[in-house]
């Protein structure tokens, strides 16, 4: 699918240039998601800090109590195990509790893909683009550190961070491969579940990385190609009947809904509803938004509507897209 181009109005162009955003990106967000003024306001705000408890290294209630004694003010987010930091006397990444691995700093929306995957003890699970390891730690914690988790990433600096985070959080069930995800086929393993948090254009993390405000549409085709290849790979690596969760931190339908549409219509995946934890979730009081089934006057497979978005507005989080896909049984 070609990258969709939406012509910005003169007013939008003027606003974008004044605020350091690409007018073409802003026009696309307005076309796909609406409520553009609120979305842009959210994207210009500093990101919130969230932390995700690691029960493998200590009782979460005890960890919370310790942080609150130190002067942190924490609030539930509705996502189990994830708290919002309302007030911090110093960096949440510099506490003794963080260094002991009792929690991980992770945006609330980043925690959603692992919930969608529903990993279980005793399973063999792959995290194909794992660095720096927040979701890997979460997968291990959700399985009581009793699954076999294979984590792949090819960037040496990011793998160093991945290793460090897995060690800090005390994991015994993970194996790290400093390799491309494509090398996973050499293992000869058929995985029960795969988490593919695919490299993307990162529009959803503009708050954290303002450089992405000026994303160029030329990058989108390359990202979409790579994502397509990774979904193909995941299909090969999964057991019959295995489960893939495909996620990104972008808002671009070419990288999200279009990939899911292709996975269903060309690879034979079946889209599944997200688990009740996510279906019933209210982030900042709002439910997750369903995947778009009509993009640029083209209808996508109805299964795409089972996917979901977390958005800077109305959810007060970084932008994330999550889809749950079941490989055919035969």
């Amino acid at each position: 699918m070609e990258v969709l181009r939406v012509a910005p109005t003169p007013a939008l162009r003027q606003w974008s240039e004044k605020n350091g955003f690409s007018p073409e990106l802003v026009a696309r967000w307005g076309a796909f998601y609406g409520d553009l003024p609120q979305m842009l306001k959210a994207m210009k705000s500093p990101p919130l800090t969230h932390l995700r408890m690691n029960p493998l290294r200590g009782d979460p209630n005890e960890t919370r109590r310790r942080l609150e004694e130190k002067g942190f003010t924490l609030e539930e987010t509705g996502v189990p195990g994830t708290l919002k930091v309302l007030e911090a006397p110093f960096s949440a990444g510099a506490t003794e509790e963080y260094l002991l691995g009792r929690y991980y700093l992770q945006d609330v929306s980043s925690a959603l893909p692992a919930f969608a995957l529903e990993p279980r003890p005793g399973e063999t699970i792959a995290d194909l683009c794992a660095a720096p390891g927040g979701k890997t730690v979460q997968l291990a914690a959700m399985t009581g550190d009793r699954a076999a988790i294979y984590a792949f990433d090819s960037d040496p600096a990011r793998v160093q961070a991945l290793e460090s985070n897995l060690q800090r959080c005390g994991l015994m069930s993970t194996a790290v491969y400093e390799r491309r995800a494509q090398d996973a086929t050499a293992l000869g393993i058929s995985f029960d579940r795969i988490l593919l948090d695919a490299p993307c254009t990162g529009e959803g993390v503009v708050q954290r990385d303002p450089g992405r405000r000026m994303g160029h549409l030329g990058e989108y085709e390359a990202c979409a190609r790579d994502q397509r290849d990774l979904v193909d790979l995941a299909h090969k690596l999964l057991k019959p009947g295995g489960l893939l969760v495909y996620s990104t931190c972008t808002l671009a339908p070419e990288e999200n809904e279009v990939q899911v549409h292709r996975a269903i219509t060309e690879l034979g995946f079946t889209a599944e509803p997200l688990p009740p934890t996510l279906r019933d979730l209210r982030l900042n009081g709002a439910p997750l938004k369903p995947g778009l089934t009509r993009v640029a006057e083209r209808d996508l497979h109805p299964g795409v509507a089972l996917a979901a978005h977390a958005l800077p507005h109305p959810h007060g989080s970084l932008g994330f897209f999550i889809a749950r896909l079941r490989k055919g049984a035969s």
């Binding site: 260094l99 009793r146 076999a148 290793e163 060690q167 005390g170 015994m172 069930s173």
Partner: protein, 172 residues
């Protein structure tokens, strides 16, 4: 990576014994885990859940960069604890711990020495020349240090060998 041999396991047993008791077997049994070695210039010791160990045996290639939790390194003579090795030993022992004040713990996590005034209490048997588990008042081991003098001591008492502040300074 490969499963640990008898000589490597003997070194682990010896070290754990020095730190207060041979709890290695009970730990492995309770954790449903086994010890694996990553060969190299120095042999790295990892504790790996059996479910992962079975997969590593069945699918040995390509070799992972790391698997399981890094407990330390074994050389010809001894096993030397890592930060995580120290943390896990600290959860299971009542020996070789030196408990430090919150302020001393903060400084230690910056890689600083612990002074005598920062020592709150210590396990019997901790002596000059020992490697001690530096422990917070809440019982968490935050690193390893060499004991420079009889406790409580004055001035520089504990010299850091490894501290969990490393995760911020260099962890990546």
């Amino acid at each position: 990576m490969r499963p640990a041999g008898d000589d490597e396991l003997d070194r682990l047993h010896d070290t754990f014994d020095r730190f207060g008791g041979d709890f290695l077997e009970s730990w492995l049994s309770h954790a449903d885990a086994e010890i694996w070695i990553r060969p190299g210039k120095v042999r790295a010791v990892h504790i790996v859940r059996k479910i992962l160990g079975e997969q590593l045996r069945a699918h040995p290639e390509p070799v992972p960069k790391i698997a399981g939790l890094f407990l330390g390194e074994v050389d010809r003579y001894r096993f030397h604890l890592s930060l995580e090795g120290a943390y896990e030993v600290g959860r299971r022992t009542k020996e070789n711990r030196v408990f430090v004040s919150d302020k001393a713990a903060q400084l230690f996590l910056y890689g600083r020495d612990v002074l005598g005034e920062g020592i709150e209490r210590w396990d019997p048997g901790v002596k000059r020349g020992n490697v001690a588990l530096v422990t917070t008042l809440r019982g968490d081991v935050i690193g390893l240090a060499e004991v420079l003098m009889a406790l409580p001591g004055n001035g520089r008492v504990l010299e850091p060998l490894a501290d969990r502040g490393w995760y911020l300074r260099e962890g990546g």
